[in-house]
């Protein structure tokens, strides 16, 4: 457990998120009473899933760095499993995929012992060299480039990208620094998820002109700009409580998260469109798969992590 007195901002922030959830639930209940003929099943499901996700994530944060790392490692595992289940793979590569899964506990172990140097090269360098080696030893050359390319791309997104969120909890250098890292992690995850919702709500309310019509016809300029604006505003407002950043830095972080989240989102949309599927899975009721939920985070996490680490630690 984390020390409660040193984690006051974290507790207040978590409290604030629960207030938002209560407001969302009350709003839906009010809509249902006002227009009983409307079918709000998907919205109800989506908010119920938010409750569950927030409950699990906040419990992990409150139990401390180790539990949080295990939890985020599990999220990485589910994301990689979902990715490997939806793309074409080769039977010959079963053992290579197994090695890719094994990279997850190692990557999160490097984080747990705060070995930054290994954390930052392990997947882009060592695993990048090891996976093709393992594949060559099996010897199946038919479809080699596609197999080795798609595998490493997926590991980069679901393990390397997401693990940057996890490394925040070790800042400024270890996990016992009074919940500072946990606050940064919450700041990033909350703003990334808030940005997803904000872009959706702005797009639904005012969206007209599609921004990437070939990839995702439902995403509009209004959704993108409204979302980035709202996220940046919120990023500036809550930065003094959860981060060491001043206003210009918080403003830049907000832009990074707003824009990065959008790119992560459409990146996954492009992949799904290429594969001809709508949702990456069915793990989270009302949301789709776990990749549908963490696609933005896989982009915002490295962007925000390197900015805040370079600038403030």
């Amino acid at each position: 457990m984390i020390a409660l007195d040193s984690a006051k901002p974290l507790l207040w922030a978590l409290g604030g998120i629960y207030v938002l959830l209560v407001i969302a639930s009350l709003f839906i209940a009010w809509q249902q009473r006002r227009w009983p003929e409307r079918n709000l099943t998907e919205l109800v499901q989506r908010v119920r899933s938010w409750w569950i996700m927030v409950a699990i994530f906040s419990a992990a944060l409150l139990f401390g760095a180790t539990v949080t790392l295990i939890f985020l490692g599990l999220v990485s595992f589910l994301a990689l499993k979902e990715y490997l289940s939806m793309i074409p793979t080769r039977r010959a590569d079963r053992r290579v995929l197994f090695w890719a899964y094994l990279a997850i506990p190692l990557q999160f172990y490097w984080i747990g012992i705060a070995w930054y140097g290994m954390f930052i090269v392990f997947i882009p360098v060592y695993l990048f060299l090891l996976l093709p080696l393992r594949m060559v030893l099996i010897g199946e050359t038919d479809g080699f480039l596609r197999a080795v390319g798609t595998l490493h791309w997926g590991v980069m997104i679901t393990v390397f990208g997401l693990s940057h969120a996890a490394y925040l909890i070790m800042l400024p250098g270890d996990a016992d620094a009074g919940g500072e890292g946990a606050s940064l992690l919450l700041y990033l995850v909350f703003l990334t998820q808030f940005n997803d919702v904000a872009q959706y709500v702005w797009g639904k309310s005012f969206g007209k002109r599609p921004i990437v019509p070939k990839v995702s016809p439902n995403k509009t300029w209004a959704g993108f700009l409204g979302g980035v604006g709202t996220t940046t505003l919120l990023a500036v407002l809550i930065a003094p409580w959860l981060t060491p950043m001043d206003t210009p830095a918080a403003l830049f972080s907000g832009l990074l998260i707003g824009v990065g989240g959008f790119i992560g989102d459409v990146n996954m949309s492009a992949l799904k469109r290429d594969l001809g599927i709508k949702d990456s899975g069915s793990l989270i009721a009302g949301h789709g798969g776990i990749l549908d939920r963490v696609d933005s985070l896989s982009f915002t996490a490295p962007l925000f992590f390197h900015f805040v680490r370079y600038g403030f630690y």
Partner: protein, 212 residues
């Protein structure tokens, strides 16, 4: 079939393993039987098929579940035989011709004890992720017990996670599509055609990535 080791094996090992390492996307869960007698039929690609199907039903039905399996394979040595009959709880059947005894008698008796049979009409696991022709045993069984519901299940992905001849389990999300229970219509051939058609319709519900 109520062995404490069986209960521990399923509740402490198989259920968590299926939940975490595999992960199921189940469609039509409400069509599964909530009591015996019943017959679950599925396509067969992996040793995981039986274990996964057994976790689809609630714990209280575990004592009633009897996977039908080949005696020559599962009873080939004493240790495997103990595991297969005591822990998995299989109902062994003799494969092939040349046995004079009624091959369906054990299954009929099990259904009379209100048990739930798990049957793989393809006969063996075959090539991973490919549907083979069904054998007619199911129709002969249902003809003798026409009131028993037969629930078809299409499984996808378990043959990727643990194909025939492999010992290493590689995690994949897997799909389970449950179809409407089939009723007997007094004609074996028509019944088998209906069963195979249902299975192909269930398979067509999913869009699966290539794997070869």
């Amino acid at each position: 079939m109520n062995h404490p080791i069986r209960w521990l094996f399923f509740e402490l090992l198989v259920r968590p393993l299926v939940l975490l390492v595999i992960g199921l996307n189940v469609r039509g869960h409400e069509r599964l039987p909530d009591r015996g007698p019943a017959i679950l039929v599925a396509n067969h690609n992996s040793h995981l098929d039986t274990l996964v199907m057994m976790t689809l039903l609630p714990s209280r039905l575990l004592p009633k579940l009897r996977p039908v399996a080949a005696a020559d394979y599962f009873l080939r040595n004493p240790l495997l035989a103990w595991f297969a009959t005591r822990v998995i709880g299989i109902l062994p059947i003799e494969r092939g011709r040349g046995t004079n005894r009624d091959p369906l008698a054990g299954m009929v008796r099990a259904l009379e004890r209100d048990e739930i049979l798990i049957l793989f009409p393809e006969g063996s696991r075959g090539e991973p992720e490919q549907l083979q022709a069904f054998k007619k045993g199911v129709a002969h069984l249902v003809r003798r017990k026409p009131g028993v519901p037969v629930v078809p299940l299409y499984l996808h992905g378990l043959g990727k996670a643990l194909p025939k001849g492999e010992a290493l389990l590689v995690p994949f999300f897997c799909d389970v599509f449950v179809g409407e229970p089939l009723v007997w219509d007094s004609d074996s051939r028509g019944y088998m055609e209906k069963l195979e058609r249902t299975m192909h319709e269930l398979a067509a519900q999913g869009s699966f990535p290539t794997w070869h």
